[in-house]
């Protein structure tokens, strides 16, 4: 019951957070002096046309009125319309979200699969090659700019060696995308048994996922290493050694479980970084996700998609952090949420 109350309270907190974020976003986009109507009409606009389009787009109304209208729309699930694509922002985000989720989830899974083992092995075998290699990776991964990393991978594996597919989107130009079920090409091609689409879309994900996972995994590796070193130096581990328990069991059964708490926290926080990274990786690899949608919209003063993107990302971020908090009590029953 206590847990349910906690979850309900946390979920309820999302509403004022979103309200605040929507207000900040609205104020910021209002302060930017660009004129969406001018962008829409282009160089050959006349003053009358601009006036008429501004009225049509509601830009002639005072900002507070536009904000109230925007909030009213949000309550009805209407995030506004993108003048650039002509679609409802919600539809555009729905169409692009599966791509970003596919990339984000695969990257996070790979980052965890790389980061935790490297951190654990490095901590368990101090001053070994694995230890130094892990530390070097931790520094390199954190220091490497994502954009640059993606370009280097493209240069090497696509341009130089020719083993990766062209970074031109989710699937090869000459392969038909799978039948739309979930929007994820990997899932949809598996569910429909479309092997050609699966192989092509999986191949197109490899480099973007490695780019994101390399950087995200480095932070996880560093945190795992530090946390493991601390746990391995603690008294109960020394007692376990004295009892003659195998070092393997000590590391994987006792130490790792205790060391995972801060790592889980970090993974939750890394979601924010991952979303930022997705924006850059989507540009380098020409992936049509929500990050690129927001950036391209921002560049042409199409603000409704930017506001929609920020709200969506915020919701995802808050929900994942709630999930992380709930995971604490699973990992350590002594932790009580409430």
């Amino acid at each position: 019951m206590e847990l349910i109350n906690y979850v309900v309270r946390r979920l309820a907190l999302i509403i004022p957070t979103l309200l605040g974020a929507s207000l900040v976003m609205f104020v910021l986009t209002t302060l930017i002096p660009g004129d969406p109507a001018l962008m829409r009409l282009g160089n050959f606009a006349t003053a009358e046309q601009l006036k008429s389009l501004r009225e049509e787009m509601g830009l002639d109304k005072p900002p507070y009125e536009r904000y109230v209208l925007y909030l009213g729309g949000l309550v009805r699930g209407d995030m506004g319309r993108s003048w650039r694509t002509g679609n409802l922002v919600l539809d555009d985000l729905q169409a692009r979200l599966p791509m970003s989720l596919e990339l984000g989830v695969c990257s996070m899974l790979l980052a965890i699969a790389i980061g935790i083992p490297i951190g654990v092995w490095g901590a368990a075998s101090k001053d070994s090659v694995v230890d130094y290699g892990g530390k070097a990776y931790g520094i390199l991964g954190v220091a490497m700019p994502l954009f640059w990393g993606g370009l280097v991978l493209v240069y090497l594996f696509y341009f130089k060696f020719g083993i990766a597919p062209a970074p031109t989107g989710r699937i090869d130009m000459l392969v038909s995308p799978p039948t739309h079920l979930t929007g994820s090409y990997l899932l949809d091609s598996l569910l429909t048994g479309d092997l050609e689409a699966f192989l092509s879309s999986a191949a197109h994900l490899v480099l973007p996922v490695i780019t994101l996972a390399f950087v995200t995994g480095a932070s996880i590796a560093r945190m795992t290493y530090t946390s493991m070193r601390k746990v391995l130096a603690s008294q109960f581990i020394q007692v376990s050694h004295a009892y003659g328990i195998s070092p393997r069991a000590i590391v994987y059964k006792f130490a790792l479980k205790n060391a995972l708490m801060p790592v889980v926290t970090l993974i939750g926080l890394q979601v924010g970084f991952l979303i930022g990274g997705v924006v850059l990786v989507e540009v380098v690899f020409s992936l049509p996700g929500i990050g690129r949608y927001a950036v391209e919209s921002l560049l042409v003063n199409d603000f409704a998609p930017v506001q929609g993107f920020v709200l969506l990302v915020l919701v995802v971020y808050l929900l994942i952090n709630l999930l992380v908090d709930l995971l604490y009590s699973v990992l350590n029953p002594q932790v009580h949420n409430g």
């Binding site: 990766a164 049509p288 003063n301």
Partner: protein, 536 residues
């Protein structure tokens, strides 16, 4: 007995799957399709196509798409340059939808004779009444198409007359120099108005929402598939008035310029749009890649406001003109892929006069001029720059360096292009690098948009009654008339004398394709007509 899952086996299998998909993923479809890919043109474009509305401005990629799915009544003619490449010819016209055209002696009546059996992609007739409806729709919805028709001299839909199925008359309210070939501009793209209006609602009286994503083509291609934000595939319109040899066109969105470059070099696309000028010298040496540079009318100037001191002081303006690093801009920023611009109208258009600009880089003369102006100590000017526009960014930095030697500080403010445009059109900019490309290659057309008191792009608030009277006069005169040329020359003498704008460079249009791509024509608007291309 099931095999035990060990860490080593799991890692091995995972790496195997990753490696396998990397190799087989791209290979399988390519092998399967290689045999059947003959006239399939693959083009890497910078951004998505956004909207199918022909009446709105939506960027270069969108303009290119419009040339594929919509026809205009006519197009500029083509001529061969000495090197064998093709460019537009203002003296001839390609009558796309027409079999003939006539212009009355007073140049206020233009009569089109349409192809008798022209059709939209759905088989509906594209006859004179349909063309009139299309133009009337452009007027009615208040977008840029109707405005373009007005600029061409047709004030409203009542001035368009469908005489019979093949004869359409445009009654101009005044003779306009570009009245005929203004009908080649994208703004006058022909839509299926009757079909669009079937989707009109009370909230959307012109069916614009439907037209954002759906249309009935009148051009050489129709949309086969459109994956938003990713790619578009087009196939030939069975009713195209001028069929293409291409069997399919695939437009792939590749937002990063360096990625567009390498996919072209690897041969994964045939044509890469908007390649960075910095990459051109290297691409000229790349195997299998063809780079062709065409002179263009896209000009770059340095603008200064006339609305306040010291910018409106002639000594200050002369000082700026002497201080510009012209050759450095040409060699460093454009890598030599441009030519000096020497007037207040763009180069490579009818009416441009080169010998009226006396200024070269000379800081001594700049200091002498500046000494005669009361410029406060530590004078600082905020200069907006379009983020991501390499010329704007780099040219402004070089100009800043040059002006710093005169004690003037430029504070560079990077912003999205839209933001800079708004500041410019609101006349809120004191100084900035300014670019413009007239889609009709005529000095009078440029004057119409930039130099008259009511010009939308008279961002610097220029006023000179003598020059502006000449400007108005050139709009209505016949393009080839010697007296018009004399007036255009006099206009440039006056405005250059006033240092209306400081001309910097005229950029080349660099077209980067695979070697087997043939048939590119450079048009005044710089928009590729992909339907004219073929693969050898």
């Amino acid at each position: 007995m099931p095999t035990a899952v060990t860490r080593r086996r799991f890692m091995g299998q995972t790496l195997g799957v990753i490696g396998g998909t990397m190799v087989s993923g791209p290979l399988l479809p390519l092998l399967a399709e290689a045999a059947k890919r003959k006239q399939v043109l693959r083009v890497a474009v910078e951004r998505d196509f956004e909207s199918l509305r022909p009446d709105m401005s939506a960027g270069y990629t969108n303009f290119m798409l419009k040339r594929l799915i919509y026809t205009t009544a006519l197009l500029w003619g083509t001529k061969q340059r000495p090197d064998g490449t093709l460019t537009y010819d203002l003296n001839t016209i390609e009558p796309l939808l027409l079999t003939a055209y006539k212009v009355s002696d007073d140049r206020q009546l233009i009569e089109f004779t349409l192809r008798p059996n022209a059709k939209f992609a759905n088989g509906d007739p594209l006859h004179a009444p349909a063309l009139k409806e299309a133009y009337a729709w452009l007027f009615a919805n208040g977008g840029s198409g109707g405005n373009q028709l007005k600029v061409n001299g047709v004030p409203n839909a009542e001035h368009i007359e469908a005489v019979d199925d093949v004869t359409l008359r445009l009654h101009l309210d005044r003779p306009v120099a570009w009245g005929l070939y203004g009908n080649a501009l994208l703004g006058t793209s022909i839509v299926h108005a009757k079909e669009i209006m079937k989707h009109a609602t009370a909230d959307d009286p012109y069916g614009l929402k439907w037209l954002e994503t759906k249309t009935i083509a009148s051009g050489p291609f129709v949309i086969e598939t459109w994956q938003k934000g990713s790619m578009m595939s087009l196939v030939p319109n069975p009713h195209a008035v001028q069929p293409s040899t291409l069997e399919r066109i695939i437009l792939q969105v590749v937002p990063d310029a360096s990625t567009r470059r390498i996919v072209l070099e690897r041969g994964d696309v045939d044509f890469a749009m908007q390649i960075s000028t910095k990459d051109i010298p290297d691409l000229r040496k790349a195997s299998g890649v063809k780079v062709t540079s065409y002179p263009s009318s896209r000009g770059w100037w340095f603008g200064m406001t006339w609305r306040k001191e010291p910018f409106n002081n002639m000594h200050f303006r002369r000082a700026m003109a002497w201080a510009m690093p012209y050759e450095t801009l040409l060699q460093v920023v454009t890598q030599g892929l441009a030519e000096r611009l020497r007037s207040c109208v763009p180069n490579n258009i009818s009416g441009y006069v080169e010998e009226l600009w006396p200024y070269e880089t000379n800081l001594e003369k700049a200091r002498e001029e500046l000494a005669q102006v009361q410029v406060p100590e530590g004078f600082t000017v905020t200069v907006p720059v379009s983020a991501g526009d390499l010329f704007d960014e780099e040219a402004t930095v070089l100009i800043k360096e040059s002006l710093a030697k005169l004690g003037i500080t430029l504070s560079i403010q990077k912003m999205p292009t839209g933001q800079k445009r708004t500041l410019l059109t609101n006349k809120q900019v004191d100084m900035a690098v300014y670019d413009w490309r007239p889609w009709t290659p005529d000095a009078g057309y440029f004057i119409h948009w930039n130099w008259l008191p009511d010009s939308f792009w008279n961002c610097w608030s220029y006023v000179n009654p003598e020059a502006q009277t000449l400007g108005y006069e050139t709009i209505t005169m016949a393009t080839g008339a010697p007296e018009r040329q004399a007036k255009l020359r006099r206009f440039q003498e006056i405005v250059n004398g006033d240092i209306g704008l400081i001309p910097l460079v005229s950029e080349f249009e660099n077209v980067v394709t695979r070697e087997n791509v043939q048939g590119y024509v450079s048009y005044p608007d710089g928009i590729p007509v992909l339907a004219k291309l073929s693969l050898e």
